[in-house]
Amino acid sequence: MHYTIEINGAQQSVDIDGETPLLWVLRDVVDLKGTKFGCGAAQCGACTVHMDGHPIRACQTPIASVGNGRITTIEAVGESRLGKLVQEAWIELDVPQCGYCQAGQIMSATALLTRTPNPTDHDINEAMNGNLCRCATYTRIRAAIKHAAEAGRA
C-alpha cells in the first residue's frame, strides 16, 4: 500500500504494508535513526515520537493508522521553543549516560511541558512513567524537566 504521511513538516511517501510500525518506517525507510528501537512492545518508551503533539509509541503505531497525523521526531523537536529548551536543559545538566533512551525521554518531556508548563513531581511521574532508562538517569531527567520549565517561564 501507498501512504503519504507528514514527518517533521515534510510529506513522505512510502510504499509498504499497512501493518508496518511507524518506527520501522522512520528508521529504515525515511532514514531518521534518532528514534530508537528498545523493546518493540510498548514497554520502554525509546521509540516515543509526537503525533499532533501527543507522545506516542512508534513501535505500536501501524503506518496505516497514522492518516493525517503530523509526526515529529527527535530530529525536529528542537525546532519548537519548548523542544529547544528541553534539549538545552538536557545539555546543561548532562542528563544522558549511554544515551540510548534519551530521544524518547526528550520527546516525552517536551510533550509534558507543552501540556503542563509547570509540572509537579506527580505530573512528571505520570508523564515519564513509560520511559525506562537502564542507566537510571531518572533524577537528572526530573531536574532537567524542572530546569526547562523554569527557563520556559523566563
Binding site: A42, Q43, R57, P62, S65, G67, N129
Partner: protein
C-alpha cells in the same frame, strides 16, 4: 492461532467483490450477518469455508458457501438456501450443526433471504474448494438428534414485530436477534448448548456468557457490568469504530468490527443501540464512581501491594495512574464493564494473549495490548488483575493464580488442542 484466524478472516473480508450489477442489499445483509467471519480461513478466499470450530461433539469445519456448483452452494435453489439458513437443513437433507446460528437466522424475512440468495449466487465469486470432513467420534456422528434439537430450539421462520414498540426498536430487534446473531456469544447457553433465549422477551437474552475462553459481557442495562452507563450514541459509536470512551472491542468482537458493523448505516446502528438500551438490567448494580485515592498512591510511589507495583511497571504507561487511559484508543480500566464483570476470563485472556488488530473500514487501530504470557507468571498476572479489579472505585473480586493457569493452558498458542472457536 486464534490471532491468525481472526487476522485472515478480516483479510478475507476485504475481498468481498461487487460486480457491475451487484445486489447491494444482499451484500449489506451478508455484512450484517458477518457470514465471512466463519466461512473463510486465513489467506483463503471469501466464503470458501474451512474454518475450524470446536463444538461439544467434535471439530467442525465451516463450509464453502460460494456459488461453485460442486463444492459450494451453486446448485441450491432459493428454497434450498432458505431451508439451510432459517431451518438448518442442507440441500441433501442433512441437518446442520447449530454452530451455524440458524436459530437466530430463523428471524430473517423471506425477502431478505431472497436478496441474500441473489447476492451469493450472482455477486460472490465461485471458488472450487471441497469441504473438509468434520472430526466427530462415530457414536456422536448421527445427525438425527439435531432434528429433535431443531424442533425444540429453532423458532419457526420469520420476524414478528412487537406492536407495542416503535419501528426503530423493531428494526434493532430484527438486526440483533436475527442477522447479527449477537446472542451466539452474548447469551448464556443451556445444557443442550442451545442459547437460553433468542429474543428480548426473556431476561437471559444477551445477559453475558463465557465462550471460547472469553466472557462476552452483558448487553443489558446493568449499570456496572452492562451497557447501563452507555448512551445510545456511545453504543452506536462502539459498533461503528470498535471503541468508545468506555471500552474497546476484543476477542471475537474483533471479527464483528472488522467485517460487519462499521458497514451498517447510521440509522441501523441507531436502531441497534435503541433496542439494546431498552433491555432491562438483570443485576441490581450501582454505576461506577471514581475513587481518586488509587491514582494518588501510585503517583506518590506508594505501591504497597505486588499488584500495584506491577501495574506501575507494566500497565501504567498506557492505562495511566488513574486507570482512565486514553480512550478511544487505549481503553480505560476504571469503570470498564469487562474489568468489573464477575467472570474475569476476558481480562485475564487479554493480559495473557494481548489484543489483535481492529480494522474499522480498512483503517487499523494503533496501540494493541501486548501479550504478557512470557513476561509474567500466573501469580503475577493474578496479582495485577486483582489490583485492577479493585482500583479506582472498581469493585470486582480478586483472581487466583489457578484461574490464570487454566486460561494460560487453554489458550496456549502452540497447543493442538486449542479451542479455536466454538460458536458464534
Amino acid at each position: 492461532m486464534k490471532r491468525l484466524i481472526l487476522a485472515a478472516a478480516l483479510l478475507a473480508g476485504f475481498s468481498f467483490v461487487a460486480g457491475a450489477m451487484a445486489n447491494e442489499k444482499g451484500e449489506y445483509l451478508a455484512r450484517a450477518g458477518d457470514c465471512v467471519a466463519c466461512h473463510s480461513v486465513p489467506g483463503g478466499r471469501a466464503f470458501a469455508g474451512g474454518l475450524k470450530m470446536a463444538s461439544p461433539v467434535g471439530t467442525l469445519y465451516t463450509t464453502n458457501i460460494t456459488p461453485d456448483p460442486e463444492t459450494g452452494i451453486g446448485s441450491y435453489t432459493l428454497e434450498d438456501f432458505d431451508r439451510s439458513i432459517r431451518r438448518g437443513i442442507a440441500r441433501d437433507g442433512h441437518r446442520l450443526y447449530p454452530a451455524m446460528p440458524y436459530p437466530s437466522y430463523a428471524k430473517l424475512t423471506g425477502s431478505d433471504i431472497a436478496d441474500l440468495y441473489d447476492y451469493f449466487m450472482h455477486d460472490v465469486p465461485a471458488v472450487r474448494q471441497a469441504n473438509r470432513a468434520n472430526e466427530i467420534p462415530p457414536f456422536l456422528s448421527p445427525r438425527w438428534p439435531l432434528a429433535v434439537w431443531n424442533v425444540v430450539y429453532t423458532p419457526s421462520p420469520g420476524f414478528t414485530p412487537d406492536p407495542s414498540k416503535d419501528a426503530q426498536w423493531n428494526r434493532g430487534a430484527y438486526l440483533v436477534e436475527g442477522l447479527g446473531h449477537c446472542g451466539a456469544c452474548h447469551s448464556p447457553r443451556g445444557t443442550a448448548w442451545q442459547e437460553k433465549s433468542l429474543d428480548a422477551r426473556d431476561s437471559s437474552f444477551l445477559a453475558g456468557a463465557n465462550l471460547d475462553d472469553w466472557y462476552a459481557p452483558s448487553l443489558r442495562a446493568n449499570q456496572a457490568t452492562g451497557l447501563g452507563s452507555w448512551s445510545q450514541g456511545e453504543i452506536a459509536e462502539f459498533l461503528k469504530t470498535g471503541h468508545n470512551r468506555h471500552a474497546v472491542a476484543y476477542g471475537s468482537m474483533g471479527d464483528v468490527i472488522n467485517n460487519s458493523t462499521p458497514y451498517l448505516t447510521d440509522s441501523d446502528l441507531a436502531a441497534i443501540a435503541a433496542f439494546l438500551a431498552s433491555l432491562p438490567a438483570t443485576e441490581a448494580e450501582t454505576a461506577w464512581v471514581e475513587d481518586t485515592s488509587t491514582a494518588q498512591a501510585l503517583l506518590s510511589g506508594k505501591t504497597d501491594t505486588a499488584g500495584a507495583a506491577l501495574y506501575v511497571s507494566a500497565c501504567q504507561t498506557c492505562h495511566r495512574a488513574n486507570g482512565a487511559a486514553a480512550p478511544p484508543y487505549v481503553p480505560p480500566l476504571a469503570g470498564n464493564p469487562t474489568v468489573l464483570d464477575k467472570d474475569p476470563a476476558s481480562l485475564i485472556n487479554i493480559v495473557l494473549n494481548g489484543s489483535w488488530p481492529l480494522v474499522a473500514k480498512g483503517r487499523p487501530d494503533a496501540y494493541r495490548m501486548p501479550q504478557f504470557r512470557e513476561q509474567l507468571k500466573d501469580r503475577q498476572i493474578a496479582e495485577v488483575v486483582s489490583f485492577i479489579r479493585g482500583a479506582w472505585g472498581n469493585k470486582a473480586g480478586a483472581v487466583s493464580p489457578q484461574e490464570v493457569a487454566a486460561l494460560r493452558k487453554s489458550t496456549q498458542p502452540s497447543s493442538d488442542n486449542i479451542v479455536v472457536l466454538k460458536m458464534r
